[in-house]
């Protein structure tokens, strides 16, 4: 499969605090990758580097074969959509107005939305099942609904790669399942997905591939290989007994078989 995103020998630090030391990270088209690691391990930083929102001290970020730092911002925005953990909206924007903003990379300053733009907006709302909320004010929505709106903004960008930072955080178990189901569905439809997630159960349920961040390095592999107590315990600073019971590869094998059959 074609490589969509590649972080090559990336070194990054916030001032004196080193986050990554010559790490590599690769995402192939159509993959569904969970980024896991303890708090402060650099999950959000990894996503922000990938989206071109941060510049690495050393190394190269390649998106669809092109160096991100040489691409125009609008070009990056058409390939990657980043869904941050929090969205603070200071004014009473409606869902419709927010999702419309996903078309920003395609619009000129004084031009109206075209029929294609409207179609993309409507489609992204329908895929995230928020069409009925389109006239509601974003700040008055529940956490789960807001998360869907954030994903809809990203889909309106019509990207190839969706980066999500903690998409299930602060959601109840039902809404978590809905968001994971939505990500699974989007992935089945062809969207490549990378999500930073700290809930290992959610990772286990929905992500066949995992990137584990630990001590300025990244270990990447199948979930079945990495979601093992002996690997996770040192990464999360836990004794292996304290880790949640993790199901093994057979679950993912079944899920992958199901996805393949639906394709």
């Amino acid at each position: 499969m074609k490589t969509l995103l590649e972080l090559r020998d990336i070194t990054f630090s916030y001032g004196a605090e080193s986050i990554f030391q010559q790490v590599c990270f690769t995402v192939k088209q159509g993959e569904r990758v969970a980024v896991i690691g303890r708090n402060g391990s650099g999950k959000t930083t990894l996503l922000r580097l990938a989206a071109g929102l941060l510049t690495a001290d050393q190394g190269l970020v390649l998106l669809d074969g092109c160096a991100v730092n040489r691409m125009p911002r609008r070009g990056i925005a058409r390939l990657i959509a980043f869904v941050p953990q929090q969205l603070f909206v200071p004014f009473d924007f409606t869902v419709d107005q927010l999702v419309s903003q996903g078309r920003t990379p395609y619009l000129r300053a004084l031009h109206n939305l075209s029929a294609a733009d409207h179609a993309a907006i409507n489609e992204s709302m329908s895929r995230t099942q928020i069409t009925h909320l389109r006239h509601r004010i974003f700040n008055q929505l529940s956490g789960g609904e807001q998360q869907r709106v954030k994903i809809a903004i990203a889909l309106a960008q019509q990207p190839k790669l969706l980066l999500l930072d903690e998409p299930t955080q602060h959601l109840d178990i039902g809404r978590q399942a809905e968001i994971l189901e939505l990500l699974l569905k989007l992935n089945q439809e062809g969207m490549t997905i990378v999500a930073a997630i700290h809930d290992l159960h959610a990772v286990q349920q929905a992500f066949p591939a995992v990137a584990l961040l630990h001590e300025r390095t990244i270990a990447q592999g199948a979930a079945s290989e990495l979601l093992r107590p002996e690997i996770l315990a040192p990464a999360f600073g836990l004794s292996s007994q304290a880790l949640p019971i993790l199901r093994r590869a057979d679950h993912f094998a079944m899920e992958e078989a199901h996805i393949e059959s639906t394709r």
């Binding site: 088209q29 969205l87 927010l98 920003t104 409207h118 179609a119 409507n122 489609e123 329908s126 394709r263």
Partner: protein
């Protein structure tokens, strides 16, 4: 694997039929703008009739249509030399402050930002006063010292506020208000200090009244022309920023990931907002609350979309200030109130109401 583009094209076609018609939205914006324009023109005409000496609308119409109309000498003088430049100045100041308010609120992602609150007006007032006191004959590209120094000082103040109030990529309300408060106080006292250095005490007192309380009086056509060019340029330049401002409201990261060059956008907003503030202050001094309450009220009616907000707030601000200035010069006629007193009487309670209503959001 299904390619996203194919899915998009296919579903786009399906959704196209279901898409809500947008043309009416554009038409409704044009209709609102047209109605407000007519209202403003009518108001300017009415305000030209009203004053210490009331002129009949017919006489005003006659001199406006024919400047050489005979038998209306006094009306001609009152209309062309006193009232009309002043009323137009009020409209320009209202428009400039309102649009600057919208721009700064978008930039700071904060509904409490306005040129007066964040100190930008204070900077412009100090610059304008310095120009009047020390460089009365200075001229830069046809702009007098008042306008050009007002612009420079306003710009410097804005950069200082932005730099001082920003914490970790955000501009918290507390920091913004405190920085604005501190800088406004410093600038206001600096203006008083500069005015007191003026050898002519009468001029000094007049300057104090104008710059610190906001008043549009004795406006010359040349001032209206300069400020008109500045407000016109600022207004026209603000429109292409509208869509990017919407994205900026979601935060720097969001705006950047939507393809916006955030640093460039910020610089453009500061420049355009400063141009408008400087034009307004060079005509009317420190007129508070206009840039705060007009965007708020307009947002209640048309929503926060800057594509609609900018033109409507500009016109609403012009209408509001023409009304306020007319009241300021007629309520206690022949004594004139500084218009800043009226805008503070109206704007102060509205500001407090907004603070109370949003106290959870703006909690200290």
């Amino acid at each position: 694997m299904t390619q996203p583009s194919q899915v998009e094209v296919q579903e786009s076609r399906e959704c196209e039929a279901a898409a809500e018609p947008r043309q009416p939205a554009t038409r409704s914006l044009l209709a609102i703008v047209l109605v407000l324009c007519l209202l403003l023109v009518g108001e300017i005409f009415a305000a030209t009739c009203i004053g210490a000496v009331t002129i009949k609308p017919g006489a005003v119409a006659s001199v406006l249509v024919n400047r050489h109309a005979e038998g209306l000498e006094m009306e001609k003088i009152i209309v062309f030399q006193i009232r009309l430049p002043r009323v137009l100045a009020a409209a320009l100041v209202g428009c400039g402050l309102s649009i600057a308010g919208v721009l700064f609120q978008g930039l700071f992602r904060n509904p409490m930002a306005d040129p007066y609150v964040i100190g930008s007006s204070g900077g412009a007032a100090l610059g304008a006063t310095l120009g009047i006191v020390f460089l009365p004959h200075f001229s830069l590209l046809g702009f007098g010292a008042t306008a050009s120094l007002a612009f420079c000082f306003s710009l410097l103040t804005m950069i200082a506020v932005y730099w001082l109030a920003r914490v970790g990529g955000r501009t918290p309300i507390v920091t913004l208000l405190l920085v604005g408060l501190a800088l406004s106080a410093m600038l206001s006292y600096s203006t008083t200090f500069v005015v007191l250095l003026h050898p002519d005490s009468y001029v000094a007192v007049h300057l104090l009244t104008v710059w610190l309380h906001g008043a549009i009086s004795n406006t010359q056509w040349s001032q209206v022309a300069v400020a008109g060019v500045m407000v016109g340029m600022g207004t026209v330049l603000s429109f292409p920023l509208a869509r990017s401002l919407n994205a900026l409201c979601l935060g720097d990261d969001y705006a950047q990931q939507l393809g916006i060059r955030v640093e460039f956008l910020r610089a453009a907003i500061i420049l355009v907002g400063t141009l408008l503030t400087a034009a307004a202050v060079s005509l009317g001094g420190l007129i508070g609350f206009v840039g705060l309450i007009i965007p708020h009220i307009v947002r209640l009616f048309v929503g926060p979309d800057h594509i609609r907000l900018l033109p409507i707030a500009g016109l609403a601000g012009a209408i509001f200030l023409v009304l306020a200035d007319t009241l300021a010069r007629t309520l206690f006629s022949p004594t004139e109130l500084p218009v800043g007193i009226l805008t503070a009487f109206i704007g102060g309670p509205v500001f407090l109401f907004l603070l109370r209503r949003g106290k959870r959001e703006y909690a200290l």
